[in-house]
Amino acid sequence: MTPAAPVTPARLPTLLLLVCLMAFLAMPEAFSGLFAPLTRNGAAPIYTQAPLLFLTLNHLALVAAGTLAATIAAVGLAIATTRLAGLSFLPLARAVANIGQTFPPVAVLALTVPIFGFGPVPTLVALFLYGLLPIFETTLTGLTELAPEAREAATACGMTETQRLMKVELPLALPLILSGIRLSAVIALATATIGSTVAASTLGEVIISGLLTGNTAFVLQGGLVVAALAILLNEGFMLLEAIAARRAGRPSAKG
């Protein structure tokens, strides 16, 4: 029926992008010829205040830490508010999530500085807080709206509430939860970029330094690396989602 791994047309360009990114990060100096025309007055074409590879890894580590924390908290919260005992808190949690969504990430970032000072911590807090919402919403949808007959069958088979959660509800919700994590991670990548305005050492540093010194080459290379990371992150998660959806017994929509 369905082929083992649907080869989507996007697969090849994605791989190519990955290779280009790795090559650039490994030896950025080799590419200085490409960026030189964008500089003026003999400014450096490649950002060297900190190695690009270091900034990239730091950036990704922040995103991973913030998203991981957000995932644990949001999934836990969604589970708690869908159990019988937590049901009356569901409207509150929904309301907070909805209001939170209208908060721009930059505002969250800026308002955490007074509390935690400059450095990576405000960025981490902003990543965490802003990452909660998409994961919470998708987990909630996954736990309450998917396959009602299967959930009822689980009860009728004599599963306890915990067994139903672990054996039926969570596995079925996994693809949706993953899509929430993907959204969060992509937003986190963007927020971490802005985080360099509050002195988190991320790739945003390259862009901002370019803006401050009028060096378009910096702006462009920072933008390119961040954009490539975002696309790769998104594609990677989409792949995971497709695998999870297949394992959850849903043939992919394209197949």
């Binding site: 996007a10 964008l38 019988l84 009356s88 808190f89 409207p91 509150l92 309301a95 907070v96 909805n98 209001i99 969504q101 209208t102 908060f103 721009p104 990430p105 930059v106 505002a107 800026a110 308002l111 500085v113 007074p114 400059f118 959930r151 009822e152 009860t155 992509v186 990548l189 963007a190 970029t193 802005i194 305005t197 509050v198 945003g204 862009i207 901002i208 370019g210 803006l211 378009t216 702006v219 462009l220 920072g222 933008g223 390119l224 961040v226 954009a227 975002a230 696309i231 998104n234």
Partner: protein, 393 residues
């Protein structure tokens, strides 16, 4: 799902949600400073509890109001009483914060700053949620919700105009740059709204075109998806280089404001981000119109245009509006980033505030942004409901 037969007996004496919110209000009042006092705008702050920050008998009044609000929220009072309590709490909080600022501010000091403390923010958070919860329980109609928003905006404007809050640090910051504030506010709103309009003008016809050509549709949606994924700062960066080149080399382009830095990259990036939700929701909206409805329109002898304008568009409208809502709220938030690339907007104050470690300046940029996004969300939710209602009529 198994329903508990004991549901009726579980109807306890307290309202669990209300009790949680009431607990937050009580903690905010008892254990968190109502106000923060700084000798100058960037010095470390010192907290003042409600009974330290308020003059005369006001602490007692404040305490009594808090206790009443807490009691009503905990009890299973009906929605209207809860609403009254929450609103009374909010108004009381507004008065207390204004009065505390005036009381704490050392007379004659031009540098000292007084701002609301954690207690005030916590109470604001809990009371707003209580208000929202009560409004939800009242099941307001869409126009009722807009009316509630207008009333809230009116009360807020009243506080600002009355001068009650003029000793608060945010308003001090405002007072020293009111011209710039109004200008950037308009730039911010303009950027958000006009990039949205451009996206609608381009996106809706584009979607109707893509609807007919399946291969093109897949490619276009994939491309827009990638665009949507790219972080805003990176997209600004990617746009700056080509725009700088155009500004420098295409005659007349610079005169139109096209340059590497400024409004142009901000506008184009916002426009690009708006396209996917608009195109996606338009396609989804049209797909939601059933084949039978279309056939009925054909059978009645409608021309293609009549069918589009009288049948398909009205039926697709709620879904399209959902896309517009997403874009507007998103644009209001993203426009903050425009401040980084010289595009103006309220982000100017946010980033200035960050670089000067001046929290109040950050708030001057962030609070109106949040308020705008929030109001836009409420208005569009109501509009979406109204357009749905039209449909079922």
């Amino acid at each position: 799902m198994a329903e508990p037969a004991f549901a009726a007996s579980r109807r306890a004496l307290i309202d669990p949600l209300g009790a949680t919110l009431a607990a937050i209000v009580a903690i905010a009042f008892l254990f968190q400073p109502l106000m923060l006092l700084r000798p100058n705008r960037i010095a470390p702050a010192q907290g003042a509890f409600a009974w330290e920050a308020l003059p005369g008998l006001q602490p007692m009044a404040c305490g009594i109001i808090t206790a009443l609000v807490v009691l009503i929220l905990i009890s299973r009072a009906d929605a209207r009483l809860r609403l009254a309590a929450a609103v009374a709490g909010l108004v009381g909080l507004g008065l207390a914060v204004g009065s505390g600022a005036s009381h704490l501010l050392p007379p004659g000091s031009a540098y000292a700053r007084v701002a609301p403390g954690a207690g005030a923010w916590l109470a604001l958070f809990a009371l707003s949620l209580a208000t929202g919860d009560a409004l939800v329980r009242l099941r307001l109609s869409p126009s009722g919700r807009i009316a509630a928003l207008v009333v809230a905006a009116g009360v807020l404007a009243g506080f600002l105009a009355s001068g009650l809050w003029s000793d608060l640090s945010v308003l001090r910051e405002y007072a020293s740059r009111s011209d710039a504030f109004l200008r950037e506010l308009w730039v911010h709103a303009g950027l958000s709204v006009f990039s949205l309009l451009a996206a609608v003008v381009v996106g809706v016809p584009l979607a109707m075109l893509l609807r007919r050509v399946a291969t093109l549709r897949r490619a276009a949606l994939a491309a827009l998806n990638v665009l949507q994924t790219i972080p805003s700062m990176a997209l600004f960066g990617l746009l700056i280089a080509p725009l700088a080149w155009i500004g420098a080399h295409v005659p007349g382009a610079a005169a139109l404001g096209i340059a590497g830095i400024g409004v142009a990259p901000a506008f184009i990036a916002l426009f690009a981000y708006s396209l996917l939700p608009i195109v996606g929701s338009t396609i989804a909206g049209f797909e939601a119109v059933s084949e039978r409805t279309r056939e009925a329109a054909d059978a009645m002898g409608m021309t293609a245009w009549q069918k589009l304008l009288r049948v398909e568009l009205p039926l697709a409208l709620p879904v399209i509006l959902t896309g517009v809502r997403i874009v507007l709220v998103q644009n209001i938030g993203l426009s903050v980033i425009a401040g980084l690339v010289g595009g103006g907007g309220l982000g100017v104050f946010v980033f200035q505030g960050i670089s000067q470690t001046a929290t109040d300046l950050v708030l001057l940029g962030a609070l109106p942004t949040v308020a705008m996004a929030f109001a836009a969300g409420i208005v569009f939710d109501a509009l979406i409901d109204l357009s749905r209602r039209q449909e079922t009529r």
